[in-house]
């Protein structure tokens, strides 16, 4: 286990054969006014792994993944996805990258004015993918089947329970078969049974489609089951990095409080 960013770099470069790093966050700075949220944040994510970002509420986890997908612009630093820097990209190129990176919003962000079917259809149509209506219907059914909610296809989001909404949001993220999925607190606000189901679903998806996952969470159950590696975000920095086992044995005060 490593405690300093400099050492972090050494560690990640160690198992980094070129092409294996799908997402590289390079010395990222982001502040809102005088509120410094991210300070020199550095992280490499390796293809096929499942990486959990741990941090207190308000520590900037959502800000971090919104920077990754280009919803927020970092003040300084660089983000490379599939080896391309997103800050220099045109809007069209960024859209192409976004079609390959799924984002599960903390608040689900289902479109309330659309049915479940239209919600799932939206990213397919909007990414200007050339497919027939028949193929679109099949993809929608497939995605709903993956999350076990095929019967809700003509319902409105308001008619669904919290757990169902999370699954539909997950289906909408999955429908483009993304290579990387960013999960923003996938189990927050759900009961323990439902959150276990969601975690299981995430792991099934990871196996089935061989995706890379970046999961933001402070649900220890989720961290334990779903993580290959864990990053602890403290004071805007990548404070510690290691496997769940390594970090849970840590003697460091700031790390220990998460595993207490």
């Amino acid at each position: 286990m490593l405690m300093q960013t400099e050492e972090t770099e050494i560690q990640t470069t160690a198992n980094d054969q070129p092409g294996n790093v799908v997402l590289r966050i390079h010395h990222l700075y982001k502040s809102f006014g005088s509120n410094k949220v991210l300070v020199d944040f550095h992280l490499d994510v390796i293809r096929g792994e499942s990486l959990v970002v741990l941090g207190k509420s308000g520590s900037g986890k959502s800000v971090l993944i919104k920077c990754i997908i280009g919803l927020l612009e970092p003040d300084e630093g660089d983000i490379e996805i599939f080896g391309e820097s997103i800050s220099a990209m045109t809007a069209e190129a960024l859209d192409k990258i976004r079609a390959r990176v799924g984002f599960l919003f903390q608040s689900n962000a289902l479109y309330d004015s659309m049915t479940v079917r239209e919600n799932l259809e939206f990213p397919l149509r909007r990414h200007w993918i050339q497919v027939s209506q028949q193929e679109i219907n099949d993809m929608i059914l497939q995605a709903l089947d993956d999350v076990g909610l095929a019967h809700t296809i003509d319902m409105m989001p308001a008619e669904l329970s919290g757990g169902m909404r999370k699954r539909i949001a997950l289906a909408r993220t999955l429908i483009l078969k993304p290579e990387i999925i960013l999960y923003d607190e996938p189990t927050t606000g759900l009961d323990p049974i439902t959150s276990r189901e969601i975690i299981q679903l995430m792991m099934d998806i990871q196996d089935k489609y061989n995706t890379t996952s970046v999961i933001i969470s402070h649900d220890m159950n989720c961290v334990r089951t779903a993580s290959d590696r864990v990053v602890v975000l403290v004071d805007g920095r990548c404070y510690a990095l290691g496997t769940f086992e390594e970090l849970s044995r840590s003697q460091d005060e700031k790390v220990k409080q998460f595993f207490a």
């Binding site: 919104k66 997908i69 280009g70 919803l71 809007a91 859209d95 976004r98 079609a99 990176v101 984002f103 919003f105 903390q106 608040s107 689900n108 962000a109 289902l110 479109y111 309330d112 004015s113 939206f122 990213p123 909007r126 990414h127 200007w128």
Partner: protein, 256 residues
């Protein structure tokens, strides 16, 4: 500088709205116009407002006529009733009342809709789904409001005048044909055109203010309510300000 905080926040907001309007124009001229969404919004904003606009316009025409009659009778110019009402409705009351109703219905619904989309991250979700949310949500709604309000004003004016025709017949009697002859004999192109042109500006103001308030909504359900509310208040004030400017301009140009 020593500005009071109120004045400062007012100026800040005016600057923000100006920037938002600038962004609207620069996004509108960029390619890939969202035709489907624009047409859907024209339906929602225009067609679905028709019953409300029609009802209020009808009642207004009827009541205005009935209330004007006693004075007209006193002056012995009862026969001029259709002409007077026609001018009042077409030049001022029709556009302004329709625009205010429109601000209440459409301004608040755009403010609330975009506000709740903002706070529940639906706007961000659109952005990561290969959509420019400003073009998809704002440009379409503002243009739909701009083009639908003048249509509603024309329809509202006609319904109002029909109400007025019934109003004339409550205590007097005039034929349908005679009524319309009297109205149109006294209306000239210079009465209709400025009123029609200013309705575009009214519609634009309602659209841009509703979108601005919604798009910049504060987190939380309270923020959404406040967006809807302040969208109506601000767009109603703007309607009167535009009305005031319009009359100065037509006056200066000698169209009267």
């Amino acid at each position: 500088m020593n500005l009071s905080p109120n004045l400062k926040s007012f100026l800040n907001e005016a600057g923000d709205i100006a920037r938002f309007t600038g962004r609207f124009f620069s996004q509108t001229i960029r390619p890939r116009f969202e035709w489907n969404e624009f047409i859907r919004q024209c339906f929602v904003i225009g067609y679905l407002s028709l019953p409300l606009v029609g009802l209020t316009a009808f009642i207004m025409g009827l009541v205005l006529t009935m209330q004007l009659r006693p004075s007209m009778v006193d002056y012995g110019v009862e026969s001029q009733l259709p002409a007077i009402v026609g001018i009042a409705i077409v030049r001022e009351i029709g556009p302004v009342i329709t625009a205010l109703i429109f601000a209440g219905k459409i301004g608040s619904s755009i403010g609330a809709e975009l506000g709740s989309m903002k706070v529940t991250e639906q706007i961000d979700a659109m952005e990561v789904s290969g959509t420019n949310p400003f073009k998809y949500l704002v440009v379409t709604r503002v243009l739909a409001a701009t083009f639908m309000l003048p249509v509603l004003v024309l329809l509202g004016d006609s319904i109002s005048l029909y109400g007025s025709y019934l109003g004339v017949n409550v205590k007097g009697s005039t034929s349908f044909y005679l009524f319309w002859m009297q109205v149109f004999d006294n209306l000239s192109f210079s009465d209709v055109l400025p009123a029609f042109v200013k309705s575009f500006f009214f519609g634009f103001a309602v659209g841009i203010v509703g979108c601005y308030k919604g798009y910049n909504s504060m987190k939380g359900t309270e923020g959404v309510g406040r967006s809807a509310n302040s969208a109506v208040v601000l767009s109603s004030i703007l309607i009167f300000i535009i009305d005031l400017l319009a009359v100065q301009i037509t006056d200066a140009l000698g169209i009267n």
